[in-house]
Symmetry: C2
Subunit: 328 residues, 2 copies
């Protein structure tokens, strides 16, 4: 049987699920660690190949809130800035912050076009499901990002009804910022559609890691952009719960380290260190369970003190049947 | 960064999730197709490396029901035999069949030690969740297998309370049968723990494919074993719904072909053809979404008429944002 690997980026085994004496399943991936100048400090697999950061791009997508002056004009709090960068759990504090952004911008929940899905947080999903109510766009994990985008539109006088369109001035502005932060020409950033209906961007893993190093330090950015980046960074760092929520890896890792952390769909992890580096990780198969062991092991390799990288897998009787851990 | 591939079986890309112009995520795997004599007819990746078939082993685990005479002594129907081989959805017909096996064997729901998890079928899970009742062992997808094991114990006078123990005579007998069906010595079959609390077995992918060819044809088995295998095969073929349920791939594929089909956890697919071959597929990363495109493409390669292998991925607004399809 033929195996057309052509066009698939080189990757390496990064995490494994073990059962008994054997590796039952294995997760491959790619990793790039860069400094703000774009120097590659560490890599696994091909760091030049493209990646869709998905929600890991949210801190950059939130920059226009600061740069346009919308955040100040509307008096947005740091909790609200953090939820604008979030893939949130739809717990009450998240919903309240999203509603507050909309209210301050003179908009309503109905203006959100984030698409509806059940709350990521299990108990919130159960409560909504058993109440008989349908999930609404505000429950979607991206509703903070959408509320932030709408606030920029109101402040700038952009049309709000069409803010998801890749040709909308806000989305064009975000594309330009990604290029600037990640040291790419605009035409080197590829544009597709994200599940919540706004553009999803793709760029080389190494360029994304460079952008993360810049966001975390403000280095190699214009003064205005550096100021916006550090304000977004500090809001996320000060309110890790608002960026994800109960039981979530991003929140846990920001609570236990001084890193900037943001995950993305299809198993992306982005990390920025104020010590001068950014790390971008993509698990090739898109499986979330591999992000934690692979990400923590990579961070440990950079001298970060991290929680235990090995997770016990328990069967339905509570007994250990295996474990998931790093291969690096 | 080092990459210790040693000990990991060679695999190849089998399926991809595409978004925009790029492959966003890729799933590697291994495949073996054998005839009942053990000849390798096709392979991808290393066919000699071990695999945990997990629930794909259920048809073999059900053989003692026939061989012991328990199925006849208790008057089990073919629907009940099929649910004894199932990873079922916990829809009403599944629960009724499991209860019936237990009743016929003089046992009760409380004798099941399959461990509790919510029904696999979404609407059944919602109904149970919102009723405020906790999931019980009968709702577990393996409860038919456990009911069948208990029926054998009652018929043979084995202890029922300890039937999950790897040293229990029933589990020893199953281990012997796996060796016989898959042409291995018992010590070549590795034993670990499955999530439902009974032994999980591991064996070379190629040996498993050989066993599937034998189960589907009765060839290269003793007369008694061939009779039991064909009876299990026919029960599953006659009642595909009982083997999985609404919306499930195993049921769909048995409904649309004349193949014997059984999936297993961590992305295993087992297929037996009466034309004289068995196919064992393992997606290396354990991701279920890759089983369908990779499995259908492999079957198409063997001349089986299959449904469309490409699935559109839709965003929250219903728009196409990508697709999942085979790489073979």
């Amino acid at each position: 049987m033929s195996s057309p690997e052509a066009g698939l980026p080189e990757d390496v085994p990064l995490a494994a699920a073990r059962r008994g004496a054997l590796v039952e399943s294995v997760h491959r991936g790619r990793l790039a660690v860069c400094d703000p100048a774009g120097n590659l400090l560490d890599a696994a697999g091909d760091p030049e190949a493209y990646v869709y950061p998905r929600s890991s791009m949210k801190p950059i997508q939130a920059l226009p809130l600061i740069l346009s002056g919308a955040a100040d004009a509307f008096g947005l709090t740091d909790r609200e800035l953090a939820v604008a960068c979030a893939s949130h759990n739809a717990e009450e504090p998240h919903l309240a912050a999203v509603r507050s952004i909309l209210t301050k911008a003179g908009l309503a929940e109905e203006d959100l076009q984030s698409g509806a899905h059940p709350p990521l947080y299990g108990p919130a999903a159960t409560e909504l499901l058993c109440s008989g109510d349908e999930p609404r766009p505000i429950h979607g994990n991206c509703s903070g990002k959408h509320a932030g985008m709408l606030a920029v539109c109101v402040h700038e006088g952009y049309e709000t009804a069409t803010y998801r369109d890749p040709h909308h001035p806000l989305q064009r502005r975000i594309l330009g910022l990604i290029g600037e932060v990640c040291d790419l020409r605009e035409d080197e950033v590829l544009v597709a559609g994200d599940n919540c209906g706004v553009p999803a961007f793709a760029l080389p893993l190494r360029s994304f890691a460079t952008g993360l190093a810049r966001i975390a330090t403000g280095e190699r950015l214009s003064e205005e952009l550096a100021g916006a980046a550090l304000r977004v960074r500090d809001a996320m760092r000060d309110y890790p719960f608002m960026v994800a929520g109960t039981g979530r890896f991003d929140t846990e890792l920001m609570d236990s380290t001084d890193l900037l952390v943001k995950g993305g769909a299809e198993a992306v992890l982005s990390v920025g260190s104020q010590e001068g580096w950014g790390m971008a990780l993509k698990i090739s198969d898109g499986t979330e369970r591999a992000v934690r062991p692979a990400g923590l092991a990579a961070l440990a390799g950079r001298g970060v003190e991290v929680p235990d990288t090995l997770s016990t897998v328990r069967g339905l009787h509570g007994e250990a049947v295996g474990e998931i851990g790093p291969l690096i």
